[in-house]
Amino acid sequence: MHDVLVRTNEAPRLRVFRRLSELWGSREILANLASKELRVKYKSSALGVAWSMLNPALYLVVFYVVFTYFLRSGIEDFPVYLLSGLVPWTLFTTGLQGATTSVVGGANLVAKVAFPHEMLPLAAIRAQTVNFFFQLVVLVAFLLIFGYPLVHRGILLLPLALAVLLVFTTALGMATSALNVRYRDTGHLVDLALLAWFWSTPIVYPSSLVRDNLEGAFSLYLLNPLANIILAFQRGIYGGVSREALESLPALGLTWYGMRLLVVGAASLVLLYFSWRLFFRRSGDFAEEL
């Protein structure tokens, strides 16, 4: 017979490949949940998806005006610098926050239907990834309109940087979403942590600021996985803008960034394994605890 299922009181053990193939089998749930999230967000709004593009567009305009005419930030082409860090950061923060609340938010589903619960945090992150691409479109449009070079060697870093960012976000999101079921403080804690994290990551200020002022601390500063990921995005987008822009970043060549991405990626995968295991073990009790 097919599909023999035995359930006991033991917490299920995560077998990565078997579970992956199960998840693959129900991948349509992921697509549908993610599209639900996006649809619900923009339902009954006249502009719909345009809202997720308006947000970065407005940022660009405001920062362009403010930093070109009023405040001299000392960063060349500041709007591009800002956006090339802010867009991936937004993916990280909205993805992590969405994932954290996803299981609690899907309570009525979890309590009534048996389905792979991993789909909930994954769908939240996937929905934010779609938003990320919309925002990327705005950034590209901006670069084109203002005649910045779009294609250069640096963009080779972008796919890897995005992949590492997604793995890292998923690794954290799995753990926080599972913990948030029992401890609702998790959500608040994540919000707070993200605030501190934002300022520990070179997004609104250049990383050279840290390098030049806190000499010894720079290598410590670079232990922040997000800093490495964001720097790679900046190298990939902002780094092509001009010679000055490139030189304001920590390294010229791509290898420095690539190696760091690989290290962060490998560490994220290990982290993902453990947080997935935590999620999986706890997911049997979700229906009870919600």
Binding site: V40, G106, L109, K112, A114, R182, D185
Partner: protein
């Protein structure tokens, strides 16, 4: 012997009842030493098997653990003890339209819900028209679900659920919803499922449905199996337990120390009759015979309506009959029956004051009709004297 599609082996399920759940870290730390809440066993050592292709009913009073058991079988809850072995794809209909999002249209919800229940997009495409037709929502399928009536919502939920292609179907009282026509449709669909050889576990309060469609049944009582197997036996037990809420003497172990020898229904003239007009007189005469001397027996009379609902109870408890030897005739003279038109049945019993010792009882064995042309659906009969005065 057919293979068991579902095998429930010694399942227990414990819930922790926190009077206030510690849902934050701080509370958790504060409570580490304090009480962790009480344990509540929703299921205790429940075991049974459902053979492949059979339909089993799950009955029991509210809170007896039916839904919990269904959730354990469906893999939504983890058992505390024991194990469940199932063979084949399971669809659990615990709540129709679970996961419907009010902001999305009917169409969008169908696709979302179907995928969560395990239908692929391609399959949903194939069944889509059928689903919509089944739910009778052709005109509204592109409206947001928040504008649906609760009936429409549930219809769509059921329509999606029954088009999933499970080999095991778990149904939790979902047939109690919707109007009669839709209920009939649902029952038809369940019969189709049966004909296709699927295994069904079916929770219900409507005992007639169990009689109608189940091959076997399990009755739960406070989380334990009270009866299982043959539908007729289980229903008998279930009826007893339900009866006992109103009549404590509804028990099976009879002493036979005293017996009900005869029961006669008579009209005002003392003629044997089983038809009474509203407001009419009815005497129920009960003859009791003591086989052995019995101390302080109580003879009780209970009236039920045609649906088996409790209507009225009386008895000789106040009269203190003392020691009973030989024969006794009790006449319950009901001088004016305030009952509306319909068929009623009588239960008669002899028992002790605590109702724990039961000598004999006859369950709804005697029937009378109230007939007299009251308006349809009248609940009771009220004797009215209408006076008109010209002023």
């Amino acid at each position: 012997m057919p293979q068991a599609a579902i095998s429930v082996e010694g399942i227990s399920k414990r819930f922790r009842l926190f009077h206030e759940r510690p849902t934050s870290v701080k509370e958790r730390l504060l409570r580490l030493r304090g009480s962790r809440g009480e344990d509540f066993w929703a299921l205790r050592d429940v075991g049974f098997e459902v053979p492949e292709g059979k339909t089993w009913g799950l009955v029991g009073a509210n809170g007896s653990g039916k839904t919990t058991l269904l959730k354990v079988i469906g893999g939504i809850l983890r058992p505390t003890e024991g194990r469940v072995v199932t063979q084949g794809r399971i669809a659990a209909l615990l709540e129709l339209g679970a996961g419907f999002h009010p902001e999305l249209t009917g169409r969008e919800n169908v696709y979302l819900n179907a995928s969560i229940l395990g239908l692929s997009r391609h399959e949903t495409d194939l069944y889509f028209d059928e689903i919509v037709a089944f739910a009778e929502l052709e005109e509204f399928i592109d409206s947001q679900v928040k504008y649906y009536s609760s009936g429409m919502f549930v219809r769509l939920g059921f329509a999606v659920a029954v088009h999933v292609d499970p080999s095991i179907l778990l149904i939790d009282e979902v047939l109690a919803v919707g109007d009669e026509a839709f209920q009939r449709k649902c029952l038809r669909r369940i019969r189709e499922f049966q004909a296709e050889g699927r295994t069904i576990v079916f929770v219900t309060h409507a005992i007639q449905q169990v009689q109608l469609i189940c091959d076997g049944a399990v009755m739960l009582d406070h989380g334990q199996v009270r009866a299982m197997g043959d539908v007729a036996d289980v229903i008998k037990e279930y009826r007893l337990v339900m009866l006992r809420r109103h009549i404590g003497f509804a028990r099976r172990d009879l002493t036979r120390s005293a017996e009900i020898a005869a029961v006669e229904l008579m009209d005002a003239e003392g003629e044997s009759s089983s038809i009474v007009p509203p407001g009419g007189e009815l005497t129920v005469q009960v003859d009791v015979r003591a086989n052995r001397p019995v101390d302080d027996p109580v003879i009780s009379l209970v009236i039920f309506d045609a649906n088996g609902q409790f209507v009225f109870r009386t008895g000789t408890a106040e009269m203190r009959l003392g020691r009973l030897e030989g024969k006794l005739r009790v006449g319950f003279e009901m001088t004016s029956l305030p009952l509306a038109d319909g068929r009623y049945s009588l239960t008669v019993g002899i028992h002790d004051r605590s109702e724990r010792i039961v000598h004999d009882w006859h369950d709804q064995r005697y029937v009378f009709d109230v007939a007299g042309g009251l308006m349809e659906d009248s609940q009771i009969y009220i004797p009215v004297e209408t006076r008109v005065e010209r002023l």
